[in-house]
Amino acid sequence: MRMSEKKTLMDLIGDIDRRVVFGFLFLALVGPLIISIPLPLPVTGFVKQYHEFLESIPAGAVVGFDVELTGATDPQLGPDLTLVFIQLFRRDVKSVIWCMTAESPVFATNAINNALKTLGEKGATKKYGVDWVELGYIAGTETGLTALMTGIRQVISKDMYGKALDDLPAMKNVNTGKDFYAVIWHSGSAGSVPYGIRQINGRFGTPMLVAVTSNEFPLYVTYLAAGQIRGLIGGARGAAEHETLMKTAGLATAQTSALALGGVVILAMLLLGNISYLDKRRRQRK
């Protein structure tokens, strides 16, 4: 197009400045976080299964808990991590937590502290070593996990606070992946879920529950259909659905309103880009 040619409306629609697109998306994402927009949230079968499995764990059972959250994925899945701990503590289920990402142990500790605070008096009765144990960072990715699930005490003799595992009541009779009632895998986008499926579910048949970021969600639906995992949470939307089932509208619920408006912006931009493109093609054919 020559400089002298006047731009048509269609040209303008097809050539919106990148900064304007960013601006629209920013407003769509930030607006609902400042001004609450309550939207009905239908609960999908994936999350229903996840919630129902957690509710079916008997009191006193010990679950394994892999936490892989990082600073990048915590905004999506942090609210759900806290929610799962609330659910476990409320039901008097014990948990043994490990991380295969070096920066994740802090997120597990933060989520536990938040859960205990939310539970108030019930939270105050919970004791480290009795109700939960933090093993800390385990190096070696899948090999590290294989070693840990083959014999926890062979890999580490102390928890991350330096306490001997044999002195912690929650660790009594727990030494392999077979000893857990279930394993909850809060992976973020670490891509580590198949490690758990191969080394825990595949070897011992221990049921698994999985929470991943929304971009990883489609990858693991197939494992749910095969029965290798029993419930699946995908990103902030999944976490919000879990909040709905727990009847506690929190951060994830607020995020879904932002996601909804953000989705509208993405769809609108797709539409505008294609209207302009089709018009341009029509003109070229003429």
Partner: protein, 210 residues
């Protein structure tokens, strides 16, 4: 001769022994002695990986020291990296990894920076979708239709306006998505099995030079 033993024969012998033990215990019921031996070998793997963190830190320090010493392009950022590394390491070592100072660095620097960088992808994806995701061919039209349906099924406003998108989204995830992903996973697994067998038998020499 001795070089060949150290560089080829010995590593492949170790690879063969470790590979066979671990595979045997995964796929077959083996006597407890063999199972214990395989367990020890796997534990070695976890221990070696722990040393890898130390090695990684040393390699990072060495890399940045060289950059600073030679005053290569943007060497000033290396000073910043070293200061942050030293500060994080010292606060962790002195006050423990659950100490106030260490957690301050973590909660008020690391997490917001990470979250910010990750969030910016939403902006670039939107801009890229606007500029490049066009109805050029029949294939791209199918892809666009699926993408729009998935976005609608994923966002609450979409569910509200078009309730059927929930069911459609579920169906896309469970049927076509699962079928494609399963095929891909099985293909990758078979490929890995082939490469693994070749590596254990010493037929895939690149495994030691990768």
């Amino acid at each position: 001769m001795s070089e060949n033993v150290y560089k080829n024969q010995l590593p492949f012998a170790v690879l063969f022994i470790v590979g066979v033990f671990v595979i045997l215990t995964y796929f077959f019921q083996v006597p407890p002695e063999i199972s214990a031996m395989a367990g020890d070998l796997t534990t070695f793997g976890a221990v070696i990986a722990s040393f890898g963190i130390l090695l990684g830190t040393l390699a990072l320090v060495r890399y940045h020291v060289v950059l600073m010493y030679r005053k290569k392009k943007n060497w000033q950022f290396s000073i910043l990296t070293m200061i942050v590394l030293a500060a994080t390491l010292l606060t962790g070592l002195i006050g423990s990894s659950r100490g106030k100072d260490f957690l301050w660095i973590y909660n008020y620097l690391n997490i917001p920076i990470n979250a910010t960088l990750y969030s910016t992808t939403a902006f670039f994806i939107t801009s890229a979708a606007y500029r490049t995701f066009k109805l050029r061919t029949f294939d791209s039209a199918i892809m666009m239709t699926v993408a729009v349906l998935m976005i609608l099924s994923w966002m609450t406003l979409g569910n509200l306006a078009f309730p059927a998108t929930i069911e459609i989204g579920d169906w896309i995830l469970k049927i076509p998505n699962s079928a494609g992903f399963r095929g891909m996973t099985i293909g990758v697994a078979l490929g890995l099995l082939g490469i693994g067998t070749r590596a254990i038998l010493g037929r895939y020499r690149e495994v030691l030079t990768a």
